[in-house]
């Protein structure tokens, strides 16, 4: 479904991603794990078209994403939940969700009902300014907003960041639930243990390169991964 080959991304003179290859197959949950600054968010921003690769290719169902605008990439079926949630403050919860279906106004209302079914807490807060939600609620709003676009591939950038343990479990349940609806998931996490548990496969990233890859289970059991990312 998504095939990344030899991807390099620079910020001016800084090489944030230095030749990364990975694949996400239809129906999988794939996770990229790695320490701060490994280049994870940079990769997701490049897939979404916010950044342009300096080398390499990103192919999505035979389309070259490097040539498409962010809006065309959303239209092709890829939605992203950005790191730090980035809900639209000053807009209500409903307005935030409606913006998620910006490109598909025809199916918007029906999708809104589906998202409210999945996130009852958002429905309770539907007329509230998104800025007044708690961190966990904002994370759900950001995920609901991405689901409004009816994506085939969902990119999640550290959805559990900064949340209390109870919320983290909730977020992982939602990810499984979204996956069960037939959505393919590319998950970025620092919470490596939980990410590897839900993932079919994982890639370990360090300094802009893939250091290791394998099934979620295999990486969980790997001694180097345990030492570096799972606290021994």
């Amino acid at each position: 479904m998504l095939n990344v080959v030899g991807l390099k991304v620079n910020y001016g003179a800084i090489q944030a991603v230095q030749g990364v290859d990975f694949t996400v197959n239809d129906g999988e949950i794939v996770t990229l794990i790695g320490a701060n600054g490994a280049g994870k968010s940079t990769i997701l921003k490049t897939i979404s078209g916010l950044l342009r690769p300096s080398a390499g290719t990103i192919t999505y169902n035979d389309q070259n994403l490097a040539k498409l605008s962010p809006s065309k990439i959303v239209a092709a079926g890829i939605a992203q939940v950005p790191e730090g949630r980035h809900v639209f403050e000053g807009l209500t919860v409903t307005e935030n969700l409606r913006m998620g279906a910006y490109l598909s106004p025809k199916t918007r209302d029906e999708q809104l009902a589906a998202v409210y079914d999945q996130f009852p807490v958002l429905k309770e807060r539907r007329s509230q300014d998104a800025a007044t939600l708690s961190g966990g609620e904002q994370q759900m709003l950001a995920m609901g907003r991405a689901m409004m676009a009816k994506p085939k591939l969902l990119l999640l950038d550290e959805p559990s960041m900064g949340l209390a343990p109870i919320y983290i479990n909730k977020i992982f349940d939602i990810i499984k639930n979204i996956h069960a609806q037939g959505v393919t998931v590319l998950l970025i996490e620092q919470n490596a243990a939980q990410a590897l548990q839900v993932a079919d496969r994982g890639y370990v990233l360090a300094s802009g390169q893939v250091k290791m890859t394998g099934t979620g289970k295999a990486l969980l059991a790997n001694d180097d991964v345990r030492a570096a990312y799972l606290g021994g």
Partner: protein, 292 residues
């Protein structure tokens, strides 16, 4: 007391014009953080367009107003496309200086093409004066205030309740997140310029009717005052710009009424300074620390 109400009516009329202009400043600033110094000149073009269609084609007020809004919207979008869009990723000061350049270009271009002299704006609406409780009101004043208020309500409906209006607010708070839901910021920015410029075009026709005279430099001072109004209201805030416009209009007429005509412009700048000191974010502004 009578003079008070008299000046209030005069101030509201003038204030409506400032409010319409201030809305354009505030919307554009809200979305691309640019102070569009050419905005007052679009208002001038709107007045000239009204002058032209009324004299040439003998259209009525409504046609002059609406066509001026359409022409100015198109002009605003064209200016954005040609002058500001290529500078989207340049430092802000570059775009600011370009805006000043566009302003000079429009002022001098109009002087060059049509002469720098002042012209009498055709009076398409016959002026009637009537007295209510000893306060003189003209039908033109009522027209100005009514049309302005209707346009502000329409703007509010567009911004709050349409898909494009909501996208405008989304881009203003978080452009990257807006792109991630599929909004093309270029379309939204263009739309914003169109909307603001349409209001400026309407203001140009209204001021022609009110003051009777137009010239290529007529946009300079009202442009600056409307900018002050937008800052007073809290730049980026739509209700703030409307309120700021009325406040500045009323302030100006009152300063004039107490015999300090010579200081009416100075008073506006004093207000600007006072606001910047005591309420730096303006009346409705959010006090956000700016990342520069």
């Amino acid at each position: 007391m009578q003079t008070f109400f008299q000046q209030l009516i005069n101030g509201l009329s003038l204030g409506s014009i400032y409010a319409l202009l201030a809305l354009g400043y505030t919307m554009v600033y809200g979305i691309i953080k640019l102070i569009n110094f050419a905005h007052g000149d679009i208002y001038m073009i709107g007045a000239f367009w009204g002058y032209y269609v009324i004299n040439q084609y003998h259209v009525d007020f409504g046609v002059a107003l609406v066509s001026s809004m359409v022409i100015c919207a198109a002009l605003g979008m064209l200016i954005e496309y040609l002058a500001y869009k290529p500078l989207r990723n340049s430092p802000r000061i570059t775009a600011l200086i370009t805006a000043i350049g566009v302003s000079y270009f429009l002022e001098n271009g109009m002087s060059f093409l049509f002469g720098a002299n002042t012209r009498n704006f055709p009076q398409v609406v016959a002026s009637h004066r009537f007295t209510v409780f000893g306060v003189a009101v003209t039908n033109i004043q009522l027209l100005i205030v009514t049309v302005s208020l209707l346009l502000m309500v329409a703007l509010q409906l567009i911004v709050q309740h349409t898909r494009m209006g909501t996208a405008m607010r989304a881009v203003a708070v978080d452009q990257e997140a807006a792109e991630l839901v599929g909004i093309n910021p270029n379309h939204v920015i263009s739309f914003t310029f169109g909307l603001g410029s349409a209001l400026a075009g309407a203001a140009g026709v209204l001021i022609g009717l009110y003051y009777n005279s137009i010239d290529p430099l007529m946009g300079m001072v009202p442009g600056i005052k409307a900018f002050v109004a937008a800052v007073v209201g809290g730049i980026g805030s739509i209700p703030g710009a409307a309120l700021g416009g009325f406040l500045i209009g009323i302030l100006e007429t009152f300063v004039q009424a107490i015999g300090l005509s010579a200081y009416k412009d100075a008073a506006v700048y004093v207000v600007l300074i006072v606001i910047l000191v005591v309420l730096p974010a303006g009346i409705f502004g959010k006090n956000v620390k700016e990342k520069v």
